[in-house]
Symmetry: C2
Subunit: 402 residues, 2 copies
DNA sequence: ACTAATTTGTTAAGCGCCCTGACGAAATAG
DNA sequence: CTATTTCGTCAGGGCGCTTAACAAATTAGT
């Protein structure tokens, strides 16, 4: 079985390797990396058994990966079984690292993650970016990035790529922000405004969040629907371990699925979109609160205290989510629906009505609904990990770059 | 011991050939077949240029495919350009053929298609199957199949596979009909009731219809949403040239997407499902007609005559389709929506309201809506072609079977 | 008409990649 | 202490594509 070649959009390496011996070699190098990454320290023989190659072939692959410092030899395994003990191989903690960055409405964040998946450095700056012009915001982000990169370099890490999560739609070139309403950014190419050196990938925060769920989630299936809300409502569809992007890169826009065709007008031009019932502004209004800092925390706190207006508002949002998700589930038949972002924190008050609505509108057993453990950390971690995945997906490519 | 080469389901999900030299060889054989199939007669040099291999390599691949009678040498091409003219290669008109079969509510149909995609034999039996027990129906279908296979054998064709389209949900094993309400079949394994010889694949008629659209449509994109209605409303999602099936194989159930959360009750347990507005029964009732033979023809005829009740009913169905499709388009961002099956014949009266609804609910340019040229022929052709695709996808596999 | 240039298809040599089979090394079992 | 098992490596070989060269078949130019 071939390892899942990571989606084409983040990073240019998603291209299919050619059907030549070199391409085969590169795919097999990738299969070794994926196997070791997924199943902890493993001997050459164990890897060979898993990817269906001979020990001899795996030996040469591993030699090369060690020479490139992508794998490390940990030494002899603790015996336990009969026979000569194998020599444990592990993903290296040095070498390439993924840099993830997030442009939030109320903060900036950057982190670096090594090939093992361990977060090695972080930097955050709080304060609103709403309506600020892009240049100063991205200059601040660049400073945070340089700080994180420098910190990594002191530990023997070099940046293999930079992935930036933004709260808005991103074109398929993975550089241009088409529309980010809460930042008031439009048709903006981030390339020239960020460091030129590590290759850049920009994507929607909901997309990165769903990838984080896929890669880091506890037992997230390979087919699921991810719903996350910050200000608007974002969704992402993961099919067979791959993120579905759509022709223009706009797939997953759950927020503008019609819930009631004659409902209130929406900025998108439609009527009764989900966002009119479960978006932050709508929920706050229904709860009798005014928008402000940390609105989500406010909602959770008051709901926990049992304030009926807030509970009823969240219940209504859950019902609307349930209706919109019924349509999505009928269309996609996912294994699960995962609530992420701000929805994770509010899940206790959303789930009952959401699940009730989903169940009563579904023939047979309804789709399972899970709550993300990552919450608002998802987009940042997903961004950093997406870089790591491109390295695992084609280790030979990064070796060429050293 | 050879590894499993094909997914049970059609749609060529199963390009999971191992990363060994043999796997590479088989993939390259497939690439030659696909290239010749897609771009008509081609010289060895032209194929080599397209699939990025050397002429020498392509020569050996072609030799093998000719020895297996999957390719034919047509002889020297008409010159025109400077240089030695190439020798044109074409897909063979002999050898393996795909057998497609359709269990409709009102008919049975079988056809065979050669590797070139040409329909070589057909057989049809009219008469309702509604509520009949499966055994006699499938016995009749078997008789038609044998007839079509025999006809093909007289022309040097042998059946490489049998694909059966049914109006209902099919489990992922591609043999078991889980639920076909209009036939009143439930949890029925078709394997034992059909000829054992050509390998069997069963799938939903909407799925096969969408594949036909993908493979045979005029300029159907690789990402589209296919909507077809016979009695119920079926949908199918094609992403990057692959059919999206969902975990249980139930993806594409557009008919039960909620259009109005407080609408009329539906058999599925929900309320206001699309089928309650645009299903055959609902449209006939709204038009003041009673269900019967050829209801679709009736509707089209009366609408063409300008009967206001019928036109209004179809317009309402179009509006409901537009609302449901708005949600689907927001979620998937397809390149186009294609109306197939009975909807193709009724498109002139559905399209205006459908497109209006889609446009006014979409920010930016709305998704294009196209009408299928195949209409109700889609499922049968898609089934037969799905067999042909499995041959093109792994020609070495059929060579082993001779 | 004749030569030069161009393109095709084939052939032989070569290289890369994995497999087979055999070996020494390092552990356990008796 | 010996037999057994498993691991990692090495040499030899097969397979598949590439490179390079060549003959064949056509057009372009003089």
């Amino acid at each position: 079985m071939t390892p899942p070649l990571h989606d084409a959009h983040p990073a240019g390496h998603g291209r299919r390797l050619p059907d030549t011996q070199q391409g085969m070699r590169r795919r097999n190098l990738a299969r070794v990396m994926h196997t070791v990454s997924a199943e902890g320290p493993l001997s050459r023989a164990a890897v060979a058994a898993r990817i269906d190659l001979t020990r001899a072939a795996v030996s040469t692959l591993v030699d090369e990966l060690i020479r490139w410092e992508l794998l490390e030899e940990l030494g002899p395994e603790r015996p336990g079984r009969v026979g000569r003990p194998g020599s444990a191989l592990a993903i290296s903690g040095h070498g390439p690292a993924g840099i993830g960055a997030e442009v939030g409405v109320d903060h900036l964040a950057v982190c670096s993650v090594d090939l093992r998946g361990v977060v090695r450095a972080r930097a955050v700056r709080h304060g609103t970016n709403r309506g600020r012009p892009p240049q100063p915001v991205l200059a601040e982000l660049t400073a945070l990035i340089r700080q994180v990169v420098a910190e990594g370099e002191r530990e023997g890490l070099w940046p293999a790529g930079l992935a930036v999560a933004v709260p808005g739609l991103v074109a398929r070139d993975a550089r241009t922000v088409v529309r980010a309403p809460n930042l008031d950014w439009h048709d903006l190419d981030l390339g020239p405004l960020l460091p030129g050196e590590p290759p850049l990938t920009v994507d929607n925060e909901a997309n990165f969040g769903s990838l984080a769920e896929l890669w880091l989630g506890d037992d997230t299936p390979r087919d699921f629907l991810h719903v996350s809300a910050e200000i608007g409502i974002g969704g992402a569809v993961v099919v067979d371990g791959r993120l579905l992007r759509g022709t223009r890169g706009f797939a997953g826009e759950l927020g503008h699925v019609p819930v009631d065709p004659e409902g209130p007008r929406c900025a998108c031009g439609g009527r009764g979109c989900l966002e009119q019932y479960a978006g932050e502004e709508a929920v706050l209004r229904a709860a009798g609160l005014t928008p402000g800092e940390d609105s989500v925390g406010q909602l959770a706190e008051r709901a926990a205290r049992g304030e009926t207006d807030v509970c009823r508002a969240l219940g209504g949002a859950g019902t609307a989510l349930g209706i919109a998700l019924t349509g999505a589930v009928n269309l996609l038949d996912p294994e699960a629906v995962v609530l992420g972002g701000a929805l994770a924190a509010l899940a206790p008050w959303l789930l009952p009505s959401l699940e009730r609505e989903l169940a009563r509108r579904t023939a047979g057993t309804a789709c399972a609904v899970a709550v993300s453990r990552l919450g608002s950390e998802g987009p940042l971690l997903g961004a950093a990990h997406s870089v790591v995945r491109t390295v695992l997906d084609d280790p030979a490519a990064v070796a060429e770059r050293t």
